[in-house]
Symmetry: C2
Subunit: 394 residues, 2 copies
């Protein structure tokens, strides 16, 4: 089939706060073939900028809009998606945002292809099995230790066997403040696995990070996530040496597979966390999952948006036997909940799996999203560049 | 002073081709203080997307528009620029394009600050000397070896003692075709230094690149530039091992200092090429120049746009005694030539230096750019986000 249209849907909560909650807006992508079949994906993040990267006028031969590598192309097999990925990398080499834009488009192409071939994406990726994962509740630290305690307790009461807390000022204040938060978290989650996300708070300051390691050991944290900038390999490696018990985790900022591989090679992380909506899509995520498995590093999805993005992430590492954890956004906005017609729900063993329906296997509910849609118009010299997208859903 | 306004000017040639000529469009940035002083910078590349990254609605706390870290801030000293750089890194962590947008804004802040303090930027950076550089003519390979020969000959006849050829299909075809181009280049430039830019043509394929090394040795090429993707450190390192004579060069894609440092640390490059309009501006470029000098690696500017960007680049490494080469775009578009009121011209020793006038020290000629300006309007729910920028210059 031929890819005939790509439309973007920018949705946002009425009020977008400065919280680190990535589900406050969403950029959905619909890809359609000439014969009317469609597939859906989701870009992370900054909807307006990612739309601009799809429709912008070209700057030169290797700074072309993402659209130039997609519209009108053939889509018959996974090899076509890999070919288009390579074309985007080449033709949009100097357009930094292209990777984020392409990620959602790529997802939608897998969805479209799977739907047409009658197969779930994990099968198209070559996986023989769809292995259920243990979801961990991904939560923000509370404003107070008491609030953190309550959030943790609620998560384990809901059924989670693992909980991650992050952001909320962790690492930016005193050691005592961090210790109080960590102890409250451990108390709240009881015997569950506990992970901590520092959100790059220490930049490249290894000593600042290392000062928290004893506190993390005390509460038996499984991992410390994103202590540093995603390019600070040497800082990661040094902290890894100074933290034999608490593993380092990272990789969510990767906007291509090589970036994640380098964090594994040179940074000494033991969990690699990939956002399928940023890294180049499902194919790029699968490439990293295979690499991580070969290196003895555990692949984990990074998901803090809708269950469409979550499902796409699950396909990427569905067949990886050694990757058994799954980030499960447990505090999504009303918008993010509205995106999909159904939600991924842990089964009776409190596990989640990639959908088995064709494609990504989870339907977008455009009617439910409609109240959140924002109308976008990008004009250059009076001409509207995103004509198709802006007319839809309003 | 207080930063009160940032305006963007998107200019483009009437026809933008698929050539690798980065001077076919331009994104100029004007920063103004509350008391009416102004400074100018230039972003590289993709103007519409970079404007969007400045004005987009926020997605969450660390996915804010670049404007959020700039407008209303104080600017009194270089430390303020470093502080704003750090704020952009933090507040726009998940907005990939932010680095390109910030680069032009940062340049304009140095220009504004230097103008106000009556000092050239290189002095504000702490350099004691402004060391003249040997410009190399940066050219694209001709469509035929004969054309390449003519371009090379014209460059040395103009006075250049070094010439670089790149792109134009080099590395994508047969070894014979590449050899014919290289021999023509060497013949054309005679005894001048000769460099070759592969434009990432080999992805991560070390053997394909290594096959060209004997051809490059035959013509005594000083460096081979960007053989691979900028993240393919291991491929770079392996090729470096297999090419003891011809040095590897790279780094132009770096969108933060750490990325360039990693290419030095892990990729074995001997020339690091930095685009001040992408890497985070003049301060980020200076950071890399200092690092390179300490590592025994030669810093070179990457410049293929206007002389505003070229001058900004020159300030960044003006005082580095071991970095004596300067990329000098010798085939700029009419637009790029129109951007500045004056051009940087090699002196009687055929050397160029950073301007000594306050700030970046080269004036923008907005009247001359006016015929090339493109009117941009970014609307979300009907409201124009870039109201100031769109009203200017038309």
């Amino acid at each position: 089939m031929q890819i005939s249209a790509v439309d973007f849907f920018y949705a946002a909560m009425p009020v977008v706060t400065l919280d680190a909650d990535g589900s406050q807006d969403a950029l959905l992508v619909r890809v359609r073939s000439a014969d009317g079949a469609e597939g859906w994906g989701e870009c992370e993040a900054s909807p307006l900028v990612s739309i601009a990267a799809f429709v912008t006028p070209r700057s030169h031969g290797v700074c072309q809009p993402v659209a130039a590598s997609v519209i009108g192309e053939r889509l018959e097999s996974p090899a076509d998606i890999a070919r288009l990925s390579e074309n985007v990398r080449r033709n949009s080499m100097d357009l930094l945002q292209a990777a984020h834009t392409w990620s959602g488009v790529e997802m939608a192409l897998w969805d479209l292809l799977g739907t047409q071939l009658g197969a779930p994406v994990w099968q198209l990726l070559g996986y023989k099995q769809n292995i259920a994962k243990d979801p961990y509740a991904s939560l923000l630290f509370g404003g107070t230790p008491e609030e953190t305690f309550e959030r943790g307790r609620a998560a384990v009461e809901a059924g989670y066997g693992a909980v991650k807390f992050g952001w909320g000022g962790f690492g930016a204040g005193s050691l005592d403040a961090d210790q109080a938060q960590l102890r409250a978290a451990r108390e709240g989650v009881s015997e569950a696995k506990l992970m901590v996300d520092a959100g790059q708070i220490w930049g490249e300051d290894v000593d600042a990070a290392a000062a928290r390691i004893p506190l993390l050991e005390e509460v038996n944290a499984l991992w410390l996530e994103e202590p540093f900038s995603p390019y600070a390999y040497l800082a990661h490696a040094e902290l890894a040496r100074r933290s034999p018990q608490v593993a380092l985790a990272g990789g969510e900022a990767s906007h291509n597979p090589e970036m994640a591989k380098n964090l594994i090679r040179f940074g000494g992380i033991r969990f690699v966390q990939i956002d399928t909506g940023r890294v180049g899509g499902i194919g790029a995520s699968k490439e990293i999952a295979d690499f991580a498995a070969a290196e003895g590093v555990t692949y984990v999805n990074h998901s803090f948006t809708s269950h469409l993005a979550l499902a796409a992430s699950l396909h990427s590492f569905a067949g990886q036997a050694t990757s058994t954890l799954c980030e499960f956004p447990a505090g999504l906005s009303e918008l993010a909940k509205a995106v999909t017609a159904t939600a991924l729900v842990p089964d009776e063993q409190w596990q989640v799996s990639a959908p088995t329906a064709p494609g990504i296997g989870i339907a977008v509910n455009l009617d439910a999203v409609a109240p959140y849609l924002r109308e976008v118009e990008l004009r250059v010299d009076g001409a509207v560049l995103n004509a198709a997208a802006m007319s839809v859903g309003k």
